[in-house]
Every structure is written in C-alpha cells, then in structure tokens.
C-alpha cells in the first residue's frame, strides 16, 4: 500500500480514469460525487488530478445510508481509502468539537492484524487529512504505545483510533469502556479474511458484540482480499442470534489485469521428492538478474535458510539479496524491510511473514518456491508484485518435486479461473470464550443471560449452547472441576442479584497481563559467540533471532545448523540463551522445523487428483512428469478422481503399503497413526509410516498384499470411518500433538499464566509443566471442558480430523488395490522420504533401553 518513491498516496495507486476539467468540478458539483463528498474532498481530488473510483463511491454511499459493508478487492484497488471515506466525510461534516464540550468518545475504530499496519495507515491517512485541512484527529494504539499516551487516549480520545484486536479487548475490559465506545459510528476491519479464521478473529468477534451493546448505532466496514465464501464474512460483520441482522452489503471489485504466471522450466532433472528446489536456483538467479526486485516466497523457514544460502554460493555478481523470516531478530527484519522499501535490494527470500499488509517498493517479480499449497495463498502472494491494479503481476512457480509440478499447474489454473479455497470461518474456540468472559467481568459485573445473548450474537459463537456457556463461566470462576474444591479461591463470584463480578482487583490485573490468543512456542534467543583455539566460548556477541526450544533440545554441542543465513555450530544453552559460533562449513546438519509447513488445501488436492485421472490434461506438464505418469499407468494404474489407490509391494526385507489419498500431510499423519494401530491388531506387524501431502506409506514385516488377496485383510474395513471412534480416542490420549494444543488452550483460557520474557529471573514468574497438568487432568476428569476445547482445536488443527473424515466418506466403496512385485513410479517420491523424517511412534522406552545397553557394554567390555 505504500509506494513512497512514486509519491502517489497508497489508495490511489493505479488510477487510470480520465480526468474531468477542474472548472467542471468546481461549477458542476451537483453530481453523485458532490452529493457524497464534502467540498474539501472534491477540491483535493481536483488538485491532485485524481478521481474517486466507482467502488469507493458505492461503498461511501451505501455506508452513509446506514448499511454495514464488506469490500472485497485485490491489492492496489484503493481499499483503505474506501474503508475510511465514510468516516472522514462524516467527521468533516461534523466539524471540530468546540473546546470545553462534554466528553466525546471515538468516532471510528480501525482494526488491523498487524501493529506495523496501524502505523503505516496513520502515516498515510494523515497526509490527505492535512492536505485537505480536515479537523480530524488520528492516533494509533498498540502494545508499543507508551502508558502515558494510552492513559491520555482514554481521557481524550482521538476521532479515529487505529489498533489491533488485543487492544480492543483491553479497552473493553475496563470500567470506562462504555464512555469510550458509546459515540462510535464506524468500525473498519482490515485484512478481514485473514483475521476471521484465527482465534484472534474469535476474540475480535466477541469484542465487536460488546461494542454493539455500548454503541447500537455502530456500522461495520470489512476490507478483505478475495475469499471462497463472502457470505460468511458478510454475516460475520453483523449481529447474529435469534433475529439476525441482514448480512453486510457486498462491493466486489474484480478485474485488474490477469497475472502472468509461469512454471519454471529447468534443464535439470525435476527431483522425485523433497521440498527445497535447490536444483532450480541457477535459473532463479538468472531471473533475479533480469528484474528490478524479486520477491522469493517459500513455505518454511528451513527452505528460506537453505535457498538463501544456495543463492549466495552462486551470487557471482554480488547482488544485494536478503533473507526475511519470523524467527530472525526484529532489528534485522526492520533493516531488510527498510532496504526493500528504499529499493536497495534485488531480491528477498521470505516466508509468510511478508504475506500481509506491508508493501514493498518496486517488486516486479514474485518467485514462488515449492508448491503454494493453496490457490488463494498463491493469489495473495502474487498480489505482492506490482501494486498497480491495472498492470499484470508477474510470477514464476518453482515446484520442488514431481507431485508439486502437478500442484503448481493446478494452482495456476485456479488463479486464472479465479477459484478460491480460503478456509471457512469455523466455530469459535472455547478457550477464547473463557478469556472473554473473564474480561467482561473485569469491565463490569455481568448478567449471565445478557452476556449469553451478546456472545451468541457474534457469528463464530452463534451456535454456542447455554450449557456450554455455563460450563465456561464455571471454568473461569473455579476451574470447572467436578471436585469442587476451589470455591473459596474463585476468580469471579455470583452476587445476590445473580450477576457475576471479579473477586478482587488482582484478577483484573492478571487478566490484562495474559490477554491475547497468540501463544508463542518457547523460544530461546540465539547469540553468536566466538570460540577460541582452546575451544572455550566467549560471551557477548550479536543476537541472531529466536529458535524454538524443542528444536534446540535435540542438539548436542558441535551439531551444525542453518540459521539467519549462516551455518552455525551449537555450543550450548546458557540461561535463556542459545550460544552458537560460526561453523565455517557449508554442510549443516539441517533443522527440520515442524512448523510452517502448510498442508495442501482440499481444493488443490482435488485438482491434482483430477489431473492424474485425465491424460488429456498432461500436455501442459513437462516431459519428465508426463513420462513418469505414463510408466505408472503401465506398471500399476492411475486412480480415478474419487478413487483411492492402494499399492502393496515388497522391498528389501519389508512389505509396503502406499495409499494415495491426496489430503495433505496432517490428515495423512493422523491416518498413519490410526492405520498402524489397526494393522497391528490384524497381525500385519507394521513397523512405521511416513506421510507426505499426497500419500501415506506404511511398512511392516507381514506381506500386506498377500493378506489383502487372501481376504485376511479387508481394505474397506481397514479404511472404515469407525477408525475415528475408539482408535482415535486411544491414540489421542498419548499424542504429543494434543499436549501441545492443550498448552495453548491452557494459556489462552487463563488456566495458567503466560511466560513473560525476562520475568522468569525475578522469580515472580511461576511455571508449571502443562504436560504434567494434562496427564493429571486426563486421568481424573477426562470430560473437563478444557480437554474438550483441546480436542476440538486438534480436530480442526494439527490432526485435521475433519478432513480425514470427509475422505473416508468419499472413498467408501471406491478403493482399488494393486499388488505389485516392486515399487511403482508413483510410490518413488514417498519411498525417498522414508528415513529422512523421524518416524513418529511411541517407542520411547526403547530409546532409553538402547542408551542403557551402551552403559552395560561399556562396563562389560
């Protein structure tokens, strides 16, 4: 949105309409614009030689008439001005509030998912406001805003407040909230498509429900990129409940020039498996040389690190190429962003940290490395280049392996066809609800029936049952345990009139410290230190960023890994820091970051399946890939679009079973866990499995092909939906993923306090392992509401159970088995993954035993 070098305000970039002569505007100000736009606006437009766009005027006119609105528009269409025009014009008509007037609350609330975006918007909005000489005050409020300024904002609020969902929750959990919000006319929600699917969106929806109570006149204006189902957002923007309001009006800006997307052609062999695309880096480098600024998007931090390093090894021209991902030190990231905005870089290798909001100087090429995993994600990333709507963006996709070639082709088709596969809004999370209930008690005593009605007016909570609401209130008060032993420590208490209030001011203070829905994995600061010849380690040195503790726990001193674009040697952990030294090597032991791998969306999966089934479509694929599919068809078969192909074959001393499900890695991993349990019960002696986005491989000691042939193993029974019953329950209980989910729920719901960096040392910070709490709770009260919240989260999140269930339904009666004498071409990619990834399993005591054997060997030897 910022195009500093071109001097054009962000919201008018790309404006191409013909201008009307100045005198006509001056004299004939009776047209539609003039009716809608106050004089200073008209004058300013003319001075600039610009003209408002049709969608901006439509939104203005409908919002002014009292409608809630949703604007869906591609980047560069002037979305932000459109969002602010209703409030700016209204404020202009209102004029300056005379000094000495009674307190006036905020007029407009702008909410964005990114702190940085609120700062940008303030800067970019102030410019036209100053130029037009409008008497409008604009301020931002984020976690970085000084306490004094925040205090002042409460006493004397600006007209327009730019802020984040967390700050809205903080403002609402306050005794003066009503006074602050009662005059509110507009809430502008930016990047709504990305907010609504997260827990932050759930929290925001609840805040919005409360705001409506204080300011019934308030109107919402949502700004969104293209989504699969706009109606969800249109409903999200208005109150639900028994008598839902009519959905927000929709202004949909389509068009812009079709992007120019190609798949990278390579002389080299396209790899069978893997995710890193290093093979194509020479070609990518050539493209960087041919363009002004290239943005190289990857899916994981690990890919970013590796490709950055690979590019520099071939960077003979010493082009300024930078690295940007979420784990890097914030200072370093800011430097990269500044250099980018000033057009001092030729390329940046980046992860999703750059997906949203902030704009980038003069990007004229987007390279997407690895498959984009989702058609909408691809469209949004490509939108990063050329922020002028009427010029085509240019993008090149670089598939990392042969399946990804098909996936890229599918994504490419989708972008042309305008298909969208953004996730649905989903049910509101229960841990977020618990946090909100406590916040509301901090604001003022609440009447449970009134609060329930208010909460169910929020779209994500429209289906919340009264019983569940009561359980959540009980949880907030005393933990909600069947053993009612904490009554005397209750955080909120019921008063004689039936309303609930906080027990003491410390509860409110605790709430404020723990508010928010983002739970960071425990991370340690990575500090570069010097190692002298004797091997002793110095102190001090530069901070490089943060790495998750779970990754570091697996390292031993001397292990090398890639981080911040360097190969580093792990030296140890000292207090809260991870010490590393320069490794002076090019061959790191590579970190396998579990996070950041997006699973393939259902839409793309379906496209890949139909591409496989339809040889007519193969002409667009590279020769290598086409040959591969042809040989597969001869040796085994290619499944029809709705068919599940199962192959079995022996290899080495093992027997393999491959299922080509195409449902994404998470769902496959869950399926793998459940299938191995079942196979074990049926005597197939499974030893392990590995999952990719496309297929699942299970191997074992028994000939599963023969077992299927003789009827001892029935595939429709094996893949029956009932595996989502007891088998799932049994496995979930032991699953590490569930423990991780539980930890997030425990923090968000307020069961345990957040870890505040730096406070550990003062001793005020008490920590307790959530894994241990989980074990105790599961043993003694398996139906506890927090375990229920955890299971719900896991079902849609890490375990993708919903998707697995859909697949099991889809393939019922459509399973085809091929018993082969050797590995098939289609199986090669997953067979190559075996051994690369640690096999998930539960054999922990076996690891202990092995370690103990060594001691015995040492003692005996």
């Amino acid at each position: 949105m910022i195009l500093p070098r071109r001097q054009a305000p962000f919201f008018f970039a790309g404006f191409r309409l013909s201008l009307r002569p100045v005198d006509i505007v001056e004299t004939q100000s009776s047209g539609r614009d003039a009716a809608l736009l106050p004089r200073p606006f008209l004058k300013w437009f003319v001075e600039k030689g610009w003209q408002p766009r049709a969608h901006q005027l439509e939104l203005l006119s409908r919002a002014t008439a009292g409608e809630n609105m949703l604007l869906i528009a591609p980047t560069g269409a002037g979305k932000t001005l459109a969002g602010f025009l209703p409030s700016l014009t209204d404020l202009t008509r209102r004029g300056k509030i005379p000094a000495g007037s009674a307190f006036v609350g905020i007029h407009t609330l702008y909410i964005s998912p990114l702190k940085a975006l609120t700062v940008d918007i303030e800067r970019n909005l102030m410019k036209p406001v100053t130029e037009m000489g409008l008497a409008v005050t604009i301020e931002n409020r984020t976690g970085d805003t000084p306490q004094a300024k925040r205090q002042r904002q409460k006493l004397s609020p600006p007209d327009i407040l730019l802020t984040t969902p967390e700050q809205v929750a903080l403002l609402l959990a306050n005794k003066e909230a009503e006074r602050f919000f009662r005059d509110l006319k507009y809430v502008v929600l930016d990047e709504l498509h990305s907010l609504v699917t997260s827990k932050r969106g759930h929290l925001l929806s609840l805040g919005l429900a409360r705001i409506r109570r204080y300011a019934p006149q308030v109107q919402t204006i949502g700004l969104s990129a293209t989504v699969a189902d706009p109606m969800d957002l249109q409903r999200w923007l208005v109150p639900q409940g028994e008598h839902p309001a009519s959905p927000a009006g929709l202004v949909h800006v389509t068009g812009g020039a079709a992007p120019n997307i190609t798949i990278m052609k390579t002389e080299d062999r396209i790899p069978w498996s893997g995710h890193v695309s290093t093979y194509a880096m020479p070609e990518v480098y050539e493209e960087i040389k041919r363009h002004r600024t290239t943005l190289i998007f990857v899916n994981t931090r690990f890919q970013a690190e590796l490709l950055f390093q690979t590019l520099w090894t071939i960077n003979d021209d010493n082009l300024p190429i930078a690295l940007h991902h979420g784990s890097l030190d914030a200072g370093q990231r800011r430097k990269v962003e500044a250099a980018m905005a000033a057009n001092r870089l030729r390329a940046v290798v980046a992860t999703s940290t750059l997906d949203m909001g902030i704009d980038w100087g003069d990007v004229d090429l987007v390279v997407h490395v690895g498959a984009p995993k989702g058609a909408s994600r691809l469209a949004q990333r490509i939108g990063r280049s050329n922020h002028r709507m009427d010029e085509p963006s240019k993008a090149i996709l670089v598939p990392a392996n042969r399946f990804e070639v098909m996936e890229c082709q599918a994504a490419l088709d989708a972008n042309y066809l305008g298909a969208q596969d953004t996730p649905p809004v989903g049910e509101g999370a229960l841990d977020v609800l618990a946090q909100h209930v406590l916040g509301m008690a901090c604001a003022d005593p609440f009447d449970p029936v009134e609060l329930y009605d208010e909460i169910t007016s929020a779209f994500p909570y429209a289906n919340l049952s009264w019983e569940m609401f009561e359980r959540i209130v009980d949880f907030v008060a005393t933990g909600g345990y069947a053993l009612r032993s904490y009554e005397r420590y209750a955080k909120i208490r019921r008063m004689k009139d039936g309303r609930w209030r906080v027990s003491n001011p410390q509860v409110a203070q605790q709430y404020r410290l723990n508010l928010g829905t983002i739970v960071e994995a425990t991370e340690l600061n990575v500090r570069l230190v010097k190692r002298n010849a004797k091997g002793t380690i110095g102190r001090g040195g530069m901070s490089l960023g943060k790495v998750e503790e779970y990754f570091l726990e697996q390292l031993v001193q001397g292990d090398t890994f890639l981080f911040a674009g360097k190969v580093l040697r792990f030296e140890g952990i000292r207090e809260n820091e991870c010490l590393v030294s320069n490794a002076f090597s090019l061959d790191p032991k590579i970190p396998a970051y579990a996070g950041g791998k997006f699973p393939l969306t259902t839409y793309l999966a379906d496209q890949v399946r139909s591409m496989l089934a339809d040889p007519d479509h193969w002409s667009v694929l590279p020769d290598q890939v086409r040959d591969w599919l042809n040989i597969q068809r001869e040796r085994s078969m290619l499944p029809a679009r709705n068919e599940l192909l199962i192959e079995t074959f022996p290899r080495g001393k093992r027997f393999f079973m491959i299922a080509y499900c195409f449902e994404g890695r998470l769902a496959h991993q869950t399926l793998g866990m459940l299938l191995t349990r079942r196979l074990d019960r049926l005597g197939a002696h499974p030893l392990g499995f590995v999952a990719t986005d496309y297929s699942l491989a299970v191997w074992g000691l028994s000939d599963m092909g023969a077992m299927i042939g003789s009827g001892r193993l029935n595939l429709s029974d094996l893949f029956d939906e009932d595996m989502l019953g007891d088998d799932l329950e049994a496995w979930l209980d032991e699953s590490y993923m569930l423990k991780r989910t539980f930890r997030n729920c425990a923090v968000i719901s307020g069961l345990i306090e957040r870890r505040h960096p730096g406070k550990e040392k003062t001793g005020r910070q008490v920590t307790v392992s959530t894994d241990l709490i989980y074990d105790v709770l599961r043993t003694h009260e398996p139906d506890h509401v927090l375990l229920e919240a955890t299971r719900r989260d896991a079902a849609s999140g890490l375990l993708d159970i919903g998707r697995l269930g859909d697949m099991l339904k889809r393939i019922k009666g459509h399973i085809t088995h091929r018993d082969l004498d050797r590995v098939s071409p289609l199986a090669v990619p997953i067979m190559l993954e075996i051994g690369k990834e640690p096999v998930p399993g539960e054999a922990h005591d076996a690891v202990l035993a092995e370690a103990a054997e060594e001691l015995i060997a040492e003692a005996m030897g």
């Binding site: 949880f475 005393t478 933990g479 909600g480 345990y481 053993l483 032993s485 904490y486 420590y489 955080k491 410390q506 509860v507 605790q510 779970y550 726990e553 697996q554 390292l555 031993v556 590490y736 069961l751 345990i752 306090e753 008490v766 307790v768 392992s769 894994d771 241990l772 709490i773 074990d775 105790v776 709770l777 043993t779 003694h780 009260e781 506890h784 640690p838 539960e842 922990h844 005591d845 690891v847 202990l848 035993a849 092995e850 370690a851 103990a852 060594e854 001691l855 040492e858």
Partner: protein, 243 residues
C-alpha cells in the same frame, strides 16, 4: 519430544524390585525404584522427595485453577510403593507440600489417606524450602535433617561435602538421544558418594542434570543417571546424556 511425567508411571506392577536398580551410596545398598522412591533394605527405610502435595491448590490460591487431583494422584503412587516395600520408616525429603498453607488446608479425606499409610511405621517429614514450617496435623515428626544408618538426609544438597548425603530439591531429570529421538525423564543421580532424588509429585517437573544449579555436586566421571522408565530403571552414564 515426549515428556512423560510421573503421572504416567505404572502403578500396576507390584512386588519388590520389579525393574528396580540396586546401587551403592557411600557403601550403603540402595534400591532405585522406577516409581521414583529409594529403598534402603539394611534399615528398612523408604525415601521419597519433593511430593509438592497441594500444588494445584497453591496455584488456585493465586488465581490459576490447576486440576485439584494432583495430591490424590501422588498419594496413590506413594501408597503403591509403600505396599511394594512395606518399609519400617518413611522419609519424605522436603517440599512435602507446595506451600506453607498446604498441609493446614489439606482436605480431610487426603489427610486420612496419609494417616493410613503411616500406620504401623515411623514417618519423618524433612522440612523443605517450600514448607519450612513443617506439617500441621499429620502423623510423623518434622525435622531439618536426619542422620540414620550411615547416611544423612536433607532437602537441599550441601555444597561442602556430599559424603553419604541423600537430598532432593533440584528435581533432577536427564535426556538421552538415539536415532534422532530424544527422551527426557526424571532420574536418580549418584556418583556413589551422594545421591539426588527425583521429584515424586505428579506436578513437580524436572531440571536437567546438566543445569548450572547442579554444578559442583558430583564427580562427573562417576556420575550415573538412573532414569525412570515406565516399568524399569535405565542407568546412563553422565557423559552419554545430552542437554
């Protein structure tokens, strides 16, 4: 990485010495039990450390409503080891309760459970840093230190000499890694001179044996970590641990 807490201990395996490991501490035979207790057969003494009873309630007093089931869970395991060894004396090595209010506010049914376990044997509560004032209304004696059978029992390991010292406080745990998989477990830690007990309480957690708080306590050449497995002890030399 999987962290199995003590709550995952199997309490079904009864009978003495199942999966337990016999070692020598300062010349005294000591049996490390996979449930986290230490038994000294020569004196019939059973040691457990850092029970942290009523930890859930202690947190609840500060607004964090942890499950109120930790005390009963810990006592159930304690009851199982007492049944297994039938000791003459039980020594609880300090941090018996998570905070000073713990023993006073202990619910009556749990109080009765402890009394039943203490029936017919001596019970000694060593005072810890969490509960320096001793216990209220519970059987047994409270003391800061105990000298018995050639060994000394105290909560915090002394920094001067560890000869024959059995201590707790630090909640030792250790990590081993094989084939890209690492496992962390609570452990007994001993160099034959001194022994550190694993924390017994189900919510007690652990501190890595390589942490700086452990510095100077052991002769690393002779130090062995006896990790608590599901149903046996796994002994691993200090040099083979990671952390």
């Amino acid at each position: 990485m999987h962290r199995i807490g003590l709550a995952a201990r199997s309490t079904t395996l009864m009978g003495a010495a199942t999966g337990a490991e016999e070692i020598l501490v300062h010349g005294v035979v000591a049996v490390c039990d996979p449930m986290g207790s230490l038994y000294l057969p020569e004196t019939g003494l059973l040691v457990v450390s850092d029970l942290h009873l009523e930890k859930g309630a202690a947190f609840a007093r500060r607004g964090m409503m942890l499950p109120p089931y930790d005390t009963i869970a810990t006592l159930n395991i304690l009851s199982a080891v007492i049944t297994r060894y039938d000791p003459k004396v039980v020594v609880s090595l300090g941090d018996n309760f998570h905070d000073r209010k713990g023993s006073e506010h202990l619910p009556a049914d749990l109080r009765a459970l402890i009394s039943a376990m203490a029936c017919g044997r001596d019970w000694i509560w060593i005072n810890g840093n969490h509960d320096p004032d001793g216990t209220v209304d519970l059987p047994g004696a409270c003391t800061d230190e105990l000298f018995y059978g050639g060994l000394v029992f105290r909560h915090e390991p002394s920094l001067i000499s560890g000869k024959g010292e059995i201590a707790g406080h630090l909640h030792p745990a250790a990590t081993v890694r094989r084939r890209e998989k690492s496992v962390r477990r609570p452990c007994f830690a001993s160099d034959g001179n001194r022994l550190l007990m694993p924390a017994f309480g189900v919510l007690a957690g652990g501190l890595d044996l390589r942490h700086s708080a452990m510095r100077g306590l052991f002769d690393h050449e002779r130090l062995v970590a006896h990790l608590l497995g599901r149903d046996r002890i796994y002994s691993v030399r200090y040099g083979s641990l990671i952390g």
